[in-house]
């Protein structure tokens, strides 16, 4: 048996064990199902949510705002990262503020945004944009600072314009870091949307979590968490897939 097959087999066995323990251990210990629902409880609750709680619409809404927030936030982060990367002056001037904003807990802005924009989609979109923005910006900026100076000099010696140097040398050089930033950002995007929906929403999986929590319906909360994870994994997988195609020229690392 090849090592890859063994790995898969072991991983699946662990999953099966966890599900089995989840199904049988809490009832055996007398834990009530509003504290820890069993796997079958969750599945039947999933069916009820599908019929009664508009599960599909809520999931799609969350997925849509995750994607939208991720797209806007990473586009802004990349654009400003590249602009600052091109200007040492502005990078130096703005970097302390960027650091401060980067450290500030972005999700804590959610109540403010609700006060400003009301109970609609804008606050959760803003939280997501804000949370996605920084890892992309920081990765791009760091990469711009470490572009091989000799490569830039080579392009200069070939009389390339500033724009050509950016397009042909700097941007492709920073692509691995940009992709790494996007990957980190994709996992944060789900958090941004969820917090936005938890704090002040009437749609989405985050809303179902707070609604389910209020009803002591643990199965509903668990289901929403699982679906949020699935959305995050999907986005992350698309990025990994894109990265493998874009960065095919990098030799594969031997593990």
């Amino acid at each position: 048996m090849s090592q890859a097959t063994t790995q898969k087999l072991v991983a699946l066995t662990i999953l099966a064990l966890v599900l089995l323990v989840w199904q049988f251990l809490p009832p055996a210990l007398g834990v009530p199902k509003f504290i820890i629902p069993t796997v079958t409880d969750m599945l039947s609750e999933l069916g009820r949510m599908y019929r009664r709680e508009d599960l599909v619409a809520n999931t799609l809404s969350t997925a849509w705002y995750t994607l939208l927030g991720f797209a806007i936030g990473s586009a802004l982060g990349a654009a400003i990262g590249y602009l600052l990367g091109l200007s040492e002056f502005w990078e130096r001037v703005l970097s302390p503020y960027i650091l401060a904003l980067q450290i500030a807990p972005k999700v804590a802005f959610a109540p403010l945004f609700i006060m400003w924009f009301g109970y609609n989609a804008t606050p959760k979109l803003l939280v997501t944009v804000l949370i996605v923005f920084f890892p992309v910006l920081v990765n791009v900026l760091a990469a711009m600072k470490t572009v091989d100076r000799d490569m830039v000099n080579l392009a200069r010696a070939y009389s390339m314009t500033r724009w050509q140097i950016f397009k042909k040398v700097e941007f492709p050089s920073t692509l691995p870091n940009l992709m790494a930033g996007l990957r980190i950002a994709s996992t944060l995007a789900v958090i941004g949307v969820t917090v936005g929906e938890l704090v002040g929403g009437n749609t989405g999986l985050g809303f179902l979590i707070s609604y389910g929590g209020g009803q002591a319906n643990a199965a509903m909360v668990f289901n929403a968490i699982v679906l949020l994870t699935v959305i995050g994994i999907l986005l992350y997988s698309v990025l990994v897939w894109a990265e493998e195609r874009l960065l095919h020229y990098l030799p594969k690392k031997e593990h």
């Binding site: 091989d148 000799d150 490569m151 000099n153 080579l154 200069r156 010696a157 070939y158 009389s159 390339m160 314009t161 050509q164 042909k168 040398v169 492709p172 692509l175 020229y249 990098l250 030799p251």
Partner: protein, 256 residues
């Protein structure tokens, strides 16, 4: 005259506010088609000479001329190569060779034709669609030479292009470079630490002093077979020339 340094001095301002004179009152000329090496102790400003020839920065005083014209900005008639091959990893080899032509208004099809011709001249035919990571160090340096030659330069500057190669590859690549350069008839300035390399590859060797670097001696290498360093390596005279440079650099005294 392909290249001329006329009383060139270059001073850098250090971040500490002090000034550092890298080279001082450098004078030399390189004739068209000549292969000249520059050797000197570490930090004597060899790379400064190269950067000023490429036009990446200007001398503090004095004049640098390439093909009779004063160099004031990056010069499209100068090609340069470093120890690092500087191939763009995201481009295929042929696209890398085309890189230098992309800012010169050369049409796409002509770029491809010229790149393919250079790859053939540098013995890389068949590797045009490989990516740099798929090639050995020696092949990557040949690809970098093809890229340098593709822009049809008046002069090429080589900054220790062989120093990262293993000993045997180095001999073969020196030989292949020498032949290609001789065939193309291109003026070449080679910066190197390797005394034997400077002797076997050059028509003439400029020996620099310690910093601030200045030309302390020009040694004419009166040997045939410049296009075949491997053959030259067998000649006994090589050792005499290398010894002469060795003495000028006072390497024995520095070792003590």
């Amino acid at each position: 005259m392909a290249l001329e340094f006329d009383h060139v001095t270059k001073t850098f301002a250090l971040p500490s506010g002090q000034e550092l004179t890298a080279v001082s009152d450098i004078n030399f000329k390189v004739e068209k088609g000549e292969f000249v090496s520059v050797v000197g102790p570490s930090g004597c400003g060899k790379s400064t000479i190269l950067s000023m020839t490429a036009g990446l920065y200007q001398p503090t005083s004095g004049i640098v001329r390439v093909s009779g014209e004063v160099v004031t900005k990056p010069n499209p008639h100068v090609g340069f190569m470093l120890q690092k091959d500087l191939l763009l990893p995201w481009r295929t080899i042929v696209k890398n060779v085309e890189f230098g032509l992309e800012s010169r208004g050369v049409s796409k099809s002509e770029r491809r034709d010229r790149a393919m011709a250079e790859l053939e001249r540098c013995h890389l035919k068949g590797f045009e669609n490989h990516y740099p990571y798929q090639l050995s160090g020696g092949m990557r340096q040949r690809a970098a030479l093809a890229r340098t030659l593709a822009i049809d330069p008046d002069i090429i500057l080589l900054d220790e292009p062989f120093s990262a190669l293993d000993a045997q590859t180095k001999l073969l690549i020196q030989d292949s470079f020498a032949e290609t350069i001789k065939e193309a008839g291109i003026t070449t300035l080679l910066i190197t630490h390797d005394l034997a390399e400077s002797v076997i590859m050059s028509d003439r060797v400029l020996v620099l002093s310690e910093r601030p670097g200045t030309v302390q001696r020009e040694i004419e290498i009166g040997l045939p077979n410049r296009e075949h360093p491997l053959a030259r390596r067998q000649m006994t005279e090589i050792h005499d020339y290398a010894n002469e440079i060795f003495t000028l650099l006072k390497l024995d005294r520095r070792a003590a």
